[in-house]
Every structure is written in structure tokens, then in C-alpha cells.
């Protein structure tokens, strides 16, 4: 299980990295492993507002649908088409497959560093 040190992590198993004033968001290795084969991704559109702790989309596996919850509030400024076209890349490369970029950030959840997130995953596994 992979926990890159340069990223921050949410309790909902998303990773976040700040790029200037823009939050780049994806799902973690722990999340993709728990989901199984991702067969479909629903994402918002550029310009959509997202709210901290609210669903901004979902990922579908063969058996289930899981919400993607935003760790930040703001405005979506980019959506990863590659993730939409090849949902399986969330399994093969979760940290290389960002989902959305959010600007005009308002509230942000308290995020964990890699070590804290790893410890958190040990409690929920």
C-alpha cells in the first residue's frame, strides 16, 4: 500500500496537493484497493461549485457506487478527461490520476500527512 510523502490525505481516502492556490484531488491507493475494479467515474464540470465534505462525483465498481467527497470548497477549474475515459487508471495509478482541480478555495478539511493517514488506514482496515 502506497502513501506518497508529498501528498495530504482526507478521512474519505482522497489525496490532495496544493498547486499555487489550486487544490488537485484524487483517490488513494487504499481507496482503489477497497473499491476493486473501477468501471465508471462521474465527475462535475468546470465551473461547478464544490462544498467541503460534500459529494462532487462518484466512482463505480462492478458491484457498487461510492461517493467522492470534496475535502475543500471552491470552484472546479479542471476535470481529468483521462480518468473519465479510462476509469481503470484509478486502480493502476491512483496518485497519477487526478480527478478534479479546485480554485477559489474556501473551507478546507483538516488533512493528514502520509504517516498520519497510514496510521488512520490501519484503524479502518
Amino acid at each position: 500500500m502506497n502513501f506518497p510523502a508529498e501528498l495530504k490525505y482526507s478521512k474519505d481516502h482522497e489525496w490532495v496537493i496544493m498547486d499555487g492556490g489550486v487544490a488537485v484531488i484524487g483517490i488513494t491507493d487504499f481507496a482503489q484497493d477497497a473499491l476493486g475494479d473501477v468501471v465508471f467515474v462521474n465527475l462535475p464540470q468546470e465551473g461547478d461549485e464544490v462544498g467541503m465534505g460534500e459529494a462532487f462525483g462518484d466512482v463505480e465498481s462492478v458491484k457498487a457506487v461510492s461517493d467522492l467527497n470534496s475535502p475543500v470548497s471552491g470552484t472546479v477549474c479542471a476535470v481529468n478527461e483521462a480518468a473519465l475515459d479510462s476509469p481503470e487508471s484509478l486502480n493502476s495509478d491512483p496518485y497519477g490520476t487526478w480527478l478534479i482541480k479546485v480554485q477559489d478555495l474556501g473551507d478546507t478539511e483538516e488533512l493528514m500527512d502520509a504517516e498520519a493517514y497510514k496510521a488512520f488506514c490501519d484503524t479502518v482496515a
Binding site: 476493486g36 468501471v39 465508471f40 458491484k63 457506487v65
Partner: protein, 409 residues
Amino acid sequence: MSELKRTVLYQAHVDAGADMVDFGGWDMPVQYPSGIIAEHLFTRSECSLFDVSHMGRLIVGGPDRLKFLQKVLTNDASALEIGRAQYTIIPAEDGSAVDDAYLYRFTDDRCLLVINAANIEKDKDWLLPIAEGFDCFVSDISGETGSIAVQGPRSRDMLSSLKGGEAIASMKRNDILSLTLEGRSMMISRTGYTGEPLGYEVFASNEDTVWLWGKLLEMGAKPAGLGARDTLRMEASMPLYGHEMGLDADGKPMPIYAVFLAKFAVSFAEGKEDMIGYEALAKQHEAFLKILEGDHSLTADLPRRIQPITLLDRGVIRAGMPVFKDGEQVGWVTSGTMIPYHVIEGEGKDAVFTGSTGKRAIGAAYMDSTIAEGDKVEVEVRGRRLSAVVSKTHLKNSKIPYAIPVING
């Protein structure tokens, strides 16, 4: 909380790293580390093993067994020859299904009835009281036996290469045999729930079931769980009790003839007069025949039917989603998910696997019988109405050894 039941292969699943789930009170593998998609694809290109030991296995025997079977099952048991098996349904008086099942006639004097794991107690509560009115017996041998489904293009070669398995190579669909594989007694049928043209189900003692599982894995078969079992049967448009049979989304019993396979499972031959649900089924049958010709004069007796559907817009259809036509609700999705397929050119022995795979959002829906193949409908997927088309079939499997996906829309 009572403990989940375990099959004889439980430890094998755990050792293989399977994700285990509660399936009708059984601790069963939903997938192995390879995942549902890989397991589905491997079945279609090679050979997968499915632990089906959790299913119910009932032996029916005694002097009046035929009269009993003719009453409680829809098939014509008198036409079932020794060495043959048949898909059948346990009907209720109103023409709906108590369960679907498979009847195997291994010997002259007794039959094996295999029923769904989730319905074992319900089916026994239904069948045993009726059996008391006949000079016959119904014995539950589920606990003393195990069962493995061996499905895929390489299944025949693998099984027939085992010592004692030579006769397997010439089995026709629905043939059954008692034989000894490497010195172990087994019963084998050329049957299955995957839509594979080549596939077998083996019934053996608990110990021999464990042996066979390990032996076939050594030979290159791979285990597949309940997740792939569901995607495979869904791609093959095979009904699942609780989805295409049983109660609809409104809680109303679904007519047996809503499922196309009823055509093969239900008989009104001489000897079937006492069949439970005869009158209701006969009415459904008349309506069914007319509907297939586009004649809707009797459609009140079969107002809704199950048909394969293919989603055309981006998304995934799932059981329970409402289906609309021209703005009116006409039914529901009964089964659906994203299902993988091999991109194959040609068919039969000359089929070529191109090496690439695809995924498609397909399934089945219970819709007004006036809706026909080729019609466009809309499926409400989490608040949005997406376009879908009613399809004839998702899979072609008449030519050995490969099932060929039929991509609609």
C-alpha cells in the same frame, strides 16, 4: 448473530486471498485478488472454477417420484431421459416462481434437484409437505456433497484429460455422467450458468470436491467468485431469482413466462395436468406466443416481460432503476452493471482474440410487453434519464468453444 455457513472450499478461498461476503447466510468469495473483471474475462478465454457447494442438492426418489415431480416442477419429468439434465422452475399456483432449479436424472430411480442457496429452506418448506402426499422421498444431500462449476473454452480439455474422464469429451449439452476421475467417484453434467458453450458442473463428496478444485488449479484453471458469476450470467441473459424471477420492484409476483427461458422450462404435455399453476401458466403461455408474433390481444395475461437492454449514453444501469418510454414509466432494470468483454474477430474454432478488451453497461429490464427489440427507452440513473435500447441478446454462444459478445447500439 449466527455464524455464516462455510462450504468445504472455504479455506481454499481464504488461502487464495478472496474477499469473502455473506451470501444468503454463506461465507462466500465475491472475488479473488485478480478482481471480478479479470475473472470474467478469464472465463471467456480460458477456464474458471466456481464453488457452487452452497447451492441446495435434493435427491428425489420413491415409486411416485414422477407424479410428484410433474406436480411441483414445470418441466416434463417423464421426458427427461437417464443421463440428461434440464432447467426447470418450481411454480406457485399463481404462475409465479418459488425458485428456478435444475433437474438431473443420473439413474432410473432417482433425480437430483439443484436449487438456489438463498432459497433452500423456502424450497424445502414448499416441497416436503407436498411430497408427503406421494409415495416418494426428498432427501437433502447438500451437506455431504460439494459442487464445482468448471466453465470456459478449456474446460472440456482439462476435465477429459483426467484419468477416467475420456467420456467427458463427447458429452452434449445437458448430458450427465457418473464416472471416476483419478479413482474418485463423481457426477458431472455439461451445464452451467455462464453462457459458455463449454462448461461443466461436478458433484462429488466433500473430500473429492476439495481434491478436484486443487487439481484443476494445478492444470491452469483459475478461481472465480460470485461477482464474476453474476456478470457472466448477466451477459448471457440468464435469470437470477430475486431479480428476473420472484417479486418485482413493487413487490408483486412476476409471471414465469416473463422470462424467455420459460419457453424451454415449462411443459403442458400429457402428465402435467396436476402441475401447480397449470391454468395460470397456460394463460401466460398463450399470451407469450402471441407477443412473440407482435400480437398483443392477450397481453393482459403477460403485461410485462424481461428483455436484454443496452445503455447508449455514458453511465451504468443497475437493478431497481426505473425505465421510461415516451415519458411514462414502463418498468425497471432487473439486473445491470458494467461488464467486460474480449474483442473477438470471427467465431467458433477460428475466432481470434485481438488482445483488446472493452466494457459495456448492459443488463435486463422488466418492461411492458408491448415494447419490442430495437425500441429506445430511457433509464433513470440517479436522477438523469439516459438512453438505452432493447436488445435481442448480448452474447452468441452456439459455436464451440467461444462465447462471442454481441455489441448492441
